[in-house]
Symmetry: C2
Subunit: 192 residues, 2 copies
DNA sequence: CCTACCGATCGGTAGG
DNA sequence: CCTACCGATCGGTAGG
């Protein structure tokens, strides 16, 4: 037997992160309402109620996961475009990066999907606010493009983003690589 | 007082359709899990349990709405393309038609959205099967296009469909007409 | 981290 | 169409 009893509160520093990762995976697979605290507990090897030692509420847990996911995604995208100057190159790099994130199976990043209708209203407002900031990156990228006058930049940006975010709805891993999809999206959206 | 008591079973022929329309609206707004039988009953002016005189189960209700919505959508699209011969014209007509359906607020047609993750597995299989048939229409339309070799028709079709189906996620009525969106989508997706 | 529980809500049913 | 209920499940909590 170790110093601490096996059944006592586990305060190992990685424990909380472990639980967050499990929760993110379940939210990504089954949605907000489709994932119960007891489901998360089961994957973590504890009862649902025990999770409240590590988190405040299901709502707060989801918001934290969503915001952390967008922080990471935004960071990766900013890094990916930093080394490029041509507007089309920059857009292509951002698309490939976001698509890679959205198509990674059960990634910690996926919960940002458009679950928004499923979520309590108070939570939804927080998610929307964070997402709007995220989309600002793409607003700048699109506004820098030399688009033909027949294309409205605002609609173009919304179409492109919903395209990238909803790709996981039909993409099935294995058949083709995510880089292939990104290349096709950029080919289609490239107009001068 | 009329012959029938007000509180007795209402067998007016339009009643069932009325309930279906209410259910469709709620499913479209709040999703499958977010809509309870009691919610539907409340809008219909009865208790949740009373709905079971008209329907067999929540699952069956959702499947019926989804399939009827796709039947109607498919019919409208087939009619819209029937009068055109040019492949691009046909695709454009189909896109405008589907987008019009998907953007109609609270339309009976909206529940076909990609709620699929929210729904019980047995139900999901039925929905996917019906949706696959629906998408066959677009498969034919896309395969008839003279696309450049750099574009994969299968990816192109999936991208186009997810674009049309997810437009409701960001579109807000009033700011611009749905016809405007359709025109932009076709402009972007038109490559020769 | 568990036991044991709370009040709320869910889909659905029997019987009238 | 209602009353009155069923068993199941939910998020969350007190106390240890």
């Amino acid at each position: 037997m170790t110093k601490k009893d096996v059944a006592s509160a586990d305060e190992r520093p990685g424990r909380r992160h472990q639980i967050l990762a499990i929760a993110a995976q379940l939210f990504a697979r089954k949605g907000y309402r489709g994932t119960s605290m007891r489901d998360i507990g089961e994957q973590a090897g504890v009862l649902g109620g025990s999770l409240y030692h590590h988190i405040k509420s299901k709502d707060a847990l989801f918001v934290e996961l969503h915001d952390a996911a967008l922080d990471e995604a935004q960071g990766r995208i900013v890094a990916a475009i930093a080394t490029r100057a041509d507007p089309w190159d920059r857009l292509e790099a951002a698309c490939a990066c976001l698509l890679d994130i959205q198509l990674a199976p059960d990634s910690l990043t996926l919960p940002m999907m458009n679950d928004f209708r499923e979520v309590p209203e108070a939570v939804r407002e927080l998610l929307v606010a964070r997402r709007d900031r995220f989309e600002g990156v793409f607003r700048e990228l699109v506004d820098a493009l030399p688009l033909p006058e027949s294309i409205d930049p605002s609609i173009y940006r919304n179409l492109l983003l919903s395209q990238l975010n909803s790709a996981a709805d039909w993409y099935r891993p294995g058949r083709l690589e995510s880089g292939m999809i990104a290349a096709q999206i950029v080919t289609i959206f490239r107009h001068e």
